[in-house]
């Protein structure tokens, strides 16, 4: 973006938003989305974000899908801050997919706040501007003589007040201003306050309706039989036993799948279990062990493609310095959202209504339009709060299935609900990754070369510009993708979720070999990147060093601990956020390791909602630890070996350490937070385990090492 030193006008604003979205985002049209619109009812839509009714009730629309990241609370906070309304008095409504009004209705890439920081505040400020203008006209004074207080325009001279509700009709008739100023951080009244999740009351009383709770007149439940192994083709099936199950009404089949429809969830799941399907011969399908063998072979070979980053000459450096090498391996992981996949669909002759939990409503609607051959304009998608997503609900396979079932069953409304077994074995998965790292150090204890070679199943396994890129004279990143029929997808902190582990434990290994303190070593490298960057650097060395220093400080890094308590350090930059973590582990009398406490320091710019921000990091850390410790989705001849939480272990209360969160305070624009807490957690623990035992953990899950209970 080339915006430095230039005031944004509206045209620029539209263009820049488009660029910032990297092609995923449509231009944010300030003009149309900030313009008032008279609706048929009693309320006036002051713009796409703000609705004020005649009684003065202010409703702020939350257009982005809520996945547990707290966006339904934090985006309206941005609007409310500028509109100057009391948080207690407003209502918040989840907007459906509306590409005329909103852009980037996506939950993914830790991007909702990052991408909306300017535009949402501007929407609030624009609405406030119009209300002030309406009041000024009424009082025949200059708008400068007016200000606002908690939902009212105030005449600064006379102290007369008018409520927004009385002004909204007039305000809606006024021309929309070109460019409205938003507040400085120092004037914030709401941003920076701890604000509770807006749906808490509905959630704690069980009244919030998730997608899985959807029930409509005449609706049937459906359960789907999918291939038991990746790569199998449906030959034939016998549904006679399924149809004997009470409540089961019919079965349909399309695209390698069989759906069982009926009056209740349990009955259709029972019915699906009784389908006798014949699949193609599975003998050529791959197992996890095959992948491991192939990855080892591939990493021993010379990379076949051009390096993704090449600074200096690593080969030369390896021939003269002392070489350190390590291999790392990550398993497939299931997403395991607590709310299994589900979606409501009612496909009619020329239109479709879809309702449920989806991270990508816009892309999904396009896909549905294709498969149903119905224009996008005739397809409605409304979003429910999601019972977790973690990347799984970026995919639209389960929405497509619901649409197809509704259509093929004779245009009946359906709710397709996956059992846990179907959800866990039906893909998509975090790709398996394998890394080989090689480094060289010189006689003066300098890290002079670094080579990362990685493989990911159907995906890239690395980010070529990740630190320590920029700090080392000879630096090379090679990647290759391994193509497999196993369906893979982004998983919380895509790429970063294992990259940080490999990179940060390898860095720790080098520090120990050099006899340097891991924190001091990182700071030394960041100083080099700052003073004399090698190639392009895509992080700010000062902000990076800032979180590292603060984490060392708050954790008492290097100071004497209680007996048998050991620390480990890791720091990683992802989604524009800097996070440093210190793990404290206890070596117990039986030799097993227990994670006692995690310190987490983040620089995510301005913290919009400290309560939401803190819980995102705490959750991210514990989630990262749980998966690194226990989780693996393995395959035998293309068939998942794990089907439910009985053999896929999830972290629980007893294993979850206390996570103490700190933020670096600054006035920078806010950056991502749903994902960045996760990547540094596993390497911090692995590095602490090394301190405690001298053992290097290089493969996940750690439970296989025998060091954890």
């Amino acid at each position: 973006m080339h915006t430095t030193g230039k005031k944004l006008n509206r045209r620029d604003f539209i263009r820049i938003s488009t660029l910032a979205g990297g092609g995923l985002v449509l231009g944010f049209e300030l003009l149309s989305s900030c313009a008032p619109k008279k609706t048929e009812g009693k309320s006036v839509d002051l713009n796409a974000f703000v609705k004020i009714d005649e009684n003065g009730q202010v409703t702020i629309m939350s257009p982005n899908p809520e996945i547990g990241q707290g966006i339904k609370t934090s985006l309206p906070m941005l609007v409310a801050e500028e509109l100057d309304v009391d948080w207690k008095d407003i209502q918040i409504e989840q907007a459906g997919l509306d590409t005329d009004k909103y852009t980037r209705q996506i939950a993914g890439g830790s991007g909702s706040i990052r991408e909306s920081w300017e535009s949402f505040r501007k929407a609030g400020a624009t609405a406030r501007y119009l209300l002030i203008a309406a009041a000024a006209a009424k009082w025949s004074v200059s708008p400068d003589a007016c200000t606002t207080e908690n939902g009212m325009v105030v005449n600064k001279n006379t102290r007369k007040k008018i409520a927004y509700g009385e002004l909204v009709e007039e305000a809606a008739k006024l021309p929309v201003p070109e460019d409205v100023k938003v507040k400085d951080n120092s004037s914030f009244k709401l941003i920076g306050k701890r604000v509770a999740n807006i749906d808490n009351q509905a959630i704690v009383t069980g009244r919030y309706k998730y997608g899985i709770d959807t029930k409509r007149e005449g609706m049937l439940y459906a359960s789907i039989v999918r291939p038991p192994a990746f790569g199998l083709i449906l030959k034939s099936y016998d549904d006679s036993a399924a149809k004997q199950v009470t409540g089961v009404q019919k079965t349909i089949s399309w695209d390698n799948k069989i759906a069982v429809l009926g009056r209740s969830t349990w009955e259709v799941i029972q019915g699906a279990a009784k389908i006798k399907a014949v699949w193609s011969d599975p003998k050529d399908l791959e197992s996890t062990a095959d992948y491991v063998t192939k990855f080892k072979q591939l990493l021993q070979q010379e990379p076949t493609e051009e390096p993704k980053r090449k600074d200096g000459n690593v080969q030369q450096a390896f021939s003269s310095g002392k070489v350190i090498e390590a291999d790392y391996l990550a398993p497939f992981l299931a997403h395991n959202t607590m709310e299994p996949m589900n979606f409501f669909a009612h496909v009619k002759e020329n239109s479709a209504e879809l309702y449920g939990p989806i991270q990508t409503p816009e892309r999904t609607r396009t896909r549905i339009a294709e498969i149903l051959d119905i224009p996008e304009d005739d397809i409605t998608i409304l979003m429910t709060r999601m019972g977790g997503g973690f990347g799984r609900r970026l995919m639209s396979d389960f929405v497509e299935e619901a649409a197809m079932v509704s259509k093929l069953a004779g245009n009946v409304p359906v709710n397709v609900i996956w059992s846990r077994e179907q959800d866990m074995t039906g893909g998509f998965y975090r790709p398996m990754y394998a890394y080989r790292y090689k480094a060289a150090v010189d006689r003066n204890k300098n890290l002079v070369a670094w080579h990362g070679h990685s493989i990911g199943v159907n995906a890239n396994a690395a980010n070529p510009d990740s630190f320590p890129a920029g700090a080392i004279p000879n630096f090379q990143v090679d990647m290759r993708q391994y193509t497999s029929p196993v369906s893979t997808a982004p998983w919380r902190g895509p790429t970063h979720n294992f990259l940080a582990f490999a990179e940060q434990t390898f860095l720790d290994e080098i520090a120990h070999q050099l006899g340097k303190d891991p924190v001091a070593f990182r700071l030394e490298l960041l100083d080099k990147a700052k003073q004399k960057p090698v190639g392009e650097i895509k992080y700010d060395p000062d902000r990076f060093a800032g979180v590292i220093k603060k984490a060392a400080e708050v954790s008492g890094w290097g100071k004497t601990k209680e007996p048998n308590v050991y620390q480990g350090f890791a720091a990683h930059f992802s989604f524009e956020t800097y996070v440093a973590e210190v793990a404290e582990v206890v070596k117990q009398a039986d030799g097993k390791i227990k994670i006692k406490k995690m310190h987490c320091v983040a620089d995510c710019g301005t913290v919009v909602n400290p309560s939401g921000a803190e819980t995102q990091l705490q959750g991210g850390v514990i989630d990262g630890l749980g998966h690194a410790l226990y989780a693996e989705l393995s395959l035998t001849k293309g068939k998942p070996d794990q089907q439910n939480f009985t053999n896929y272990r999830m972290i629980k209360m007893a294993e979850a350490p206390e996570v103490v969160v700190h933020f670096v305070e600054n006035n920078e624009s806010p950056t991502g937070l749903g994902e960045p807490g996760l990547p540094p957690a596993a390497p911090a623990v692995a590095n602490a385990v090394f301190s405690a035992t001298g053992i290097r953990l290089r493969e996940q899950p750690f439970i296989k090492s025998g060091l954890f209970a």
């Binding site: 709401l190 009383t205 799941i269 959202t337 607590m338 846990r420 819980t615 972290i651 629980k652 206390e658």
Partner: protein
Amino acid sequence: MAAFQLTINKKKYDVDVDPQMPLLWVIRDFVGLTGTKFGCGVAQCGACTVHLGDVAVRSCTYPVQNVGNEEVTTIEGLSEAGDHPVQQAWKAVDVPQCGYCQAGQIMTASALLKQNPHPSDDEINKVMTNICRCATYNRIRKAIKVAAGDLKVEESEASL
């Protein structure tokens, strides 16, 4: 198929279903109370927790025929006004992220506190085996202690 009369949240419901049908699905699909959630179907995650009498039960594996005359309480019936001390604490501590597992967490916690009004950390760990994929465990522990009156939410920590 068999007829059962169930008392759920002090109201009587008549259902005619397979005696093996887990209580969860009777509550959700036949009675129409959807606050009790489905997570795994094998009593591992606890999203489906309800009270049978005063005892927390994972309703996804509890056949409806075993309920007998026991009173069933679901999250919707935990308190009339949604102000049970555990519910209050959950809001004060701002526990939910996605929120999906929280009904089960609250039902498990409220049964625990009824039996043991001031549980230790170890006692909390033993009983609170519900899975939260958002990993809100730190706040769940804190909210249990707040509900027990063993911990106060400082003003600086309180949420709007």
